[in-house]
């Protein structure tokens, strides 16, 4: 994987992960080990790390060892240490490819590796997770399925009707953003491999073939939206049901997790191991080779890693749906058909292509992906004067503009006591500078007509639909509605999501301490989007995360 791909990887995953972490602080007098890791294995790490921290293990100088485990995107786990932003002692990204790239970058910079040796904690293959009745309609359980079946379904204008299931509507597919998340990148690589019929040795010529572009475009047009993390996608699919997503690219462990009692699902979910081949996520763990890792840290880190690799903890990885890294533990339940997965799969894995080929695939995706039609609804009320809220919010919004693709469309609707269009249907490719200038021109004044403004933006998107695009509204506000004629209920009734006609999503950012979180969350939830808490410190990250949906 290229540095280009890793650098932006999962910035926003870190954001959400850091806030949801909520781990207790290291007790005074203890030896703290900072452990940053790919968030896919968060549940297991939390479980066994709590156990470790309570076990009273001592360092060589007799201090109690305390591990602060922080989940984040795999790219970030490496980048943060490379850049010295976080002084981690142990890292564990989702894939060994991240360690390879990190070491290569570290050798270029400092002549030494970032992580010199690793152990495999656990494994999970990347799969297409699909609701069981839908998978069965495609032939699951009777014949091998793959990307060619996904493509045929995505291209069929009858959608599920082609399988006699008109009531299921169109085929709705999802994978994460390939520049932010491992599984999203893997989805693209696998789609291109499938288009070429190869399992290794992918070349630039393969990527540049018109048939490859057409294959990729065919599948991507069925995508409902992208997203920053596999875990988030998994939750969205399971909590919103088959009317929201027919299938998504997830890890096998996510499929197994869906059988736990925490979800009340209409149908089981099953794993399709694409017959054309897939990739493994192999979770390497290693000690960081940096000056802040003292001999005592190193010793303590070895104790912790050994604990993770000990049989009881390794057996637990199975209960969380992973293949244990300890090869002496046989694969048993829940890695079985009763949990929607097949312990004899995958049958074929794919070779990670060269950096050049991966870059070419990302570039091809930018052209062939599902494009977006976005309205930015931006609060310019008088209260935005306070605490440098306005300049920071502008920087965040400008970052969003910079991250949108050239083929996307952007409209900008600033509001105070009433909404007033500042830009309509700007093609981002030619209008990026104009959009930035427009945002820079905002200044705070007046009241807050929040509901009316969202209503205006929603109607505008309904009135000028762009075929085959992701339509969405991004709302930033710092206070309660003061000036709307319509009520919150009126608005919610107008915008409530259904899978065929009302598919516009409204992402809401409650900015600062006066924002009314419940209201904004209800608006986001009604449209199956997401609510974010924004501050002057994190607002750029929030906009960045929202950009991963498009």
């Amino acid at each position: 994987m290229s540095a280009m791909l890793i650098q932006p990887a999962c910035k926003s995953e870190q954001q959400s992960a850091a806030t949801s972490n909520g781990q207790q602080a290291a007790p005074p007098g203890s030896l703290e080990l900072v452990f940053t890791y790919g968030s896919e294995k968060e549940a297991w790490i939390k479980d066994v790390t709590t156990q470790f921290n309570n076990s009273g293990q001592k360092s060589s100088s007799g201090k109690k060892i305390f591990v602060t485990a922080i989940p984040m995107g795999s790219g970030d786990a490496i980048d943060e240490v490379l850049l010295g932003r976080r002084q981690s002692h142990i890292v564990s990204p989702a894939s060994a490819a991240f360690i390879k790239i990190g070491n290569a970058q570290s050798r270029t910079k400092s002549g030494k590796d970032l992580v010199s040796s690793t152990d495999t904690l656990m494994l999970s293959p990347v799969v297409v997770a699909m609701w069981k009745p839908m998978a069965e309609a495609l032939g699951w359980g009777k014949k091998p399925l793959g990307w060619s079946d996904i493509l045929a379904l995505a291209r069929n204008e009858q959608g599920w009707g082609a399988f006699g299931k008109q009531q299921w509507g169109s085929f709705k597919f999802g994978h994460t953003h390939p520049e932010f998340s491992n599984s999203g990148l893997i989805s693209l690589l696998a789609e291109v491999y499938a288009a070429t019929g190869k399992v290794s040795g992918l070349t630039l010529a393969d990527v540049n073939k018109p048939t490859t572009a057409s294959y990729l475009e065919g599948i991507e047009q069925a995508v409902v939206h992208y997203g920053s993390s596999t875990g988030f996608f998994n939750t969205k699919m399971l909590s919103n049901g088959p009317e929201y997503l027919s299938a998504a690219v997830l890890y096998e462990s996510n499929v197994i997790e869906s059988y736990s009692n925490q979800y009340n699902l209409p149908f089981p979910v099953v794993a399709i191991y694409p017959k054309e081949g897939t990739f493994w996520s192999d979770h390497p763990i290693g000690i960081v080779e940096r000056e802040w890792v003292t001999a005592e840290h190193r010793e303590a880190a070895k104790t912790y890693i050994k604990f993770l690799l000990d049989r009881p903890q390794q057996e637990k990885t199975l209960t969380y749906g992973f293949h244990p890294g300890d090869v002496n533990i046989p694969l048993t339940s829940p890695i079985d058909l009763a949990h929607g997965v097949d312990p004899r799969e995958p049958k074929t894995t794919l070779e990670v292509p060269s950096v050049e080929v991966m870059d070419a695939i990302i570039n091809l995706w930018r052209v062939k992906k599902k494009h977006s039609n976005i309205v930015l609804v931006f609060d310019t009320s008088g209260s935005m004067k306070e605490n440098s809220k306005m300049p920071n919010a502008k920087l965040g919004a400008e970052q969003l503009v910079s991250l949108l693709d050239s083929s996307d469309f952007l409209s900008i609707l600033p509001f105070s006591s009433s909404p007033s269009w500042a830009a309509r249907d700007l093609p981002v490719g030619s209008g990026r500078e104009e959009a930035t200038r427009t945002i820079e021109s905002f200044f705070p004044t007046g009241g807050t007509a929040l509901y009316d403004s969202i209503g205006v933006a929603y109607q505008a998107l309904l009135d000028s639909p762009k075929a085959k695009s992701i339509s969405a509204i991004i709302v930033l506000t710092d206070g309660a509605d003061t000036d709307s004629r319509s009520s919150l209920n009126d608005l919610l009734n107008r915008i409530r999501f259904d899978s065929e006609k009302h598919t516009i999503r409204v992402f809401t950012i409650g900015y600062g301490t006066d924002a009314v979180k419940d209201v904004l969350k209800s608006i986001a939830d009604a449209t199956q989007a997401k609510f974010y808490e924004g501050t002057t410190q994190n607002i750029q990250s929030v906009f960045k995360e929202i950009s991963t949906f498009f």
Binding site: S117, T120, P330, K347, T349, S354
Partner: protein, 398 residues
């Protein structure tokens, strides 16, 4: 996956590694048989093991990952002994080239070193002398021996044999070039393409051995591999076609075998690895993806896993003594006998190989044999160098 190209030093080092290793193993296995066994019996070393009288000390042992399970077990056992109460052993996994580079760059955590094969020593000694003006090796012994083998998922091996009758580099090459993969080999389209794995010849001893044994296989000879054999266009085309079908190119043999067992036939149908590594994973593979089968190439080469006590300026007298105590412990009968469980043939020749629990008895149904075929004569440095250069030139930065 992309891998760095070999530096000139790296090439020289691996050439000397393979040549040196080969000659030593060849001598050890072919010539030694005619000598008086007691004269070179490593078992006699245990008599020198005196109780460690120094203060508590800690030493680092850099080692090839193919010995991981055995050495980790040995370290735990050592810790239970009176010496082990005073001497703490830190195991540091390092590939052959990596271990030497770490020592040359002054890695103070290493006091002893045990690569997969012996005479990487020569170039290491030369480089060391330039820097420190002394012989870096205070003492050396072979710990355990192992030949090379093909390992294949048994179900797929049976299907392979059905079609090609025998398994060698020639038939593997045919399978790798089947356009329909397993569909053409055995009417099993769901098995995908045929997938072979071996380690990176520029980074791992077993990878370079693979190339040499390929050349012997193509030439149909057991000794006297010459430059003209390597420069033969037919051989080169054959080798390069075969290599185009090779997956992965792991840096270490232990990692490659572990990956085969962890990821199953989706990653590799067959790998070419040390016999010891294959044996170490036979049982665990059954709990994951099914039974494995071991196949010996007609012509083979040996690795003898040397243990060097390093005369490093950062090693204290006590650390040197401790490294020797641990070496002697490794050569004692119980520890050598345990090496058998991890698939090695003990260097201590007083330790029997055939007994009920020995893998060489218990695992015969997996294809394990006492006699691993004939031992190939190690080719000259010039031949190996050219072989590696031809391979490297055609890997496109792999």
């Amino acid at each position: 996956m992309p891998e760095g190209k070999l530096t000139l030093l790296g090439k020289i080092v691996v050439v000397l590694l393979i040549v040196g290793c080969g000659y030593l193993a060849y001598y050890f296995l072919v010539q030694k048989k005619t000598d008086d066994p007691s004269a070179t019996d490593p078992g006699s070393k245990q008599a020198q093991s005196n109780q460690f009288s120094g203060n508590a000390v800690e030493i680092g042992l850099a080692y090839g990952t193919e010995k991981k399970s055995w050495l980790e077990w040995a370290v735990r056992e050592f810790a239970k002994t009176p010496d082990g109460k005073k001497i703490k052993i830190n195991l540091i996994p390092k590939g052959s080239q990596e271990g030497a580079q770490a020592l040359l760059s002054g890695d103070k955590s290493i006091n002893a070193w045990s690569p997969a094969s012996s005479l990487y020593k020569e170039i290491f000694v030369q480089d060391w002398q330039v820097k420190y003006s002394n012989n870096p090796i205070l003492k050396e012994e072979s710990l355990a021996l192992t030949p090379m083998v093909f390992v294949m998922w048994n179900e797929r091996y049976q299907a392979f044999i059905q079609k090609y009758k025998t398994l060698n580099f020639t038939t593997i090459s045919q399978a790798l070039q089947e356009k329909g993969g397993w569909n053409a080999i055995s009417n099993k389209p769901e098995w995908g393409l045929f997938k072979l794995g071996h380690t990176h010849p520029g980074k791992s001893n077993s990878g370079l051995m693979t190339l040499v044994l390929m050349a012997y296989d193509f030439g149909g000879k057991t000794r006297g591999l010459a430059l003209k054999d390597i420069l033969n266009v037919d051989f080169q085309n054959w080798m390069l076609k075969l290599e185009q079908g090779v997956n992965g190119l792991s840096d270490s043999t232990g990692t490659l075998m572990r990956e085969m067992v962890l990821k199953g036939p989706s990653s590799y149908d067959a790998v070419f690895v040390y016999e010891s590594v294959a044996i170490d994973f036979l049982k665990s593979a059954e709990g994951r993806w099914g039974e494995l089968h071991i196949i010996y190439p007609k012509e083979n080469m040996w690795s003898e896993n040397p243990y060097y006590i390093i005369d490093a300026p950062w090693s204290t007298k006590e650390q040197r003594a401790a490294a020797e105590v641990f070496l002697n412990f490794l050569l004692t009968e119980p520890i050598q006998k345990e090496s058998l469980k991890h698939g090695f043939r003990p260097a201590n020749t007083t330790v029997p190989v055939i007994f009920a629990e020995s893998p060489f008895t218990a695992y015969q149904r997996y294809g394990l044999q006492i006699e691993p075929g004939s031992t190939s004569e190690p080719p000259s440095a010039e031949v190996v160098n050219n072989l590696l250069a031809i391979w490297q030139r055609n890997q496109g930065g792999r």
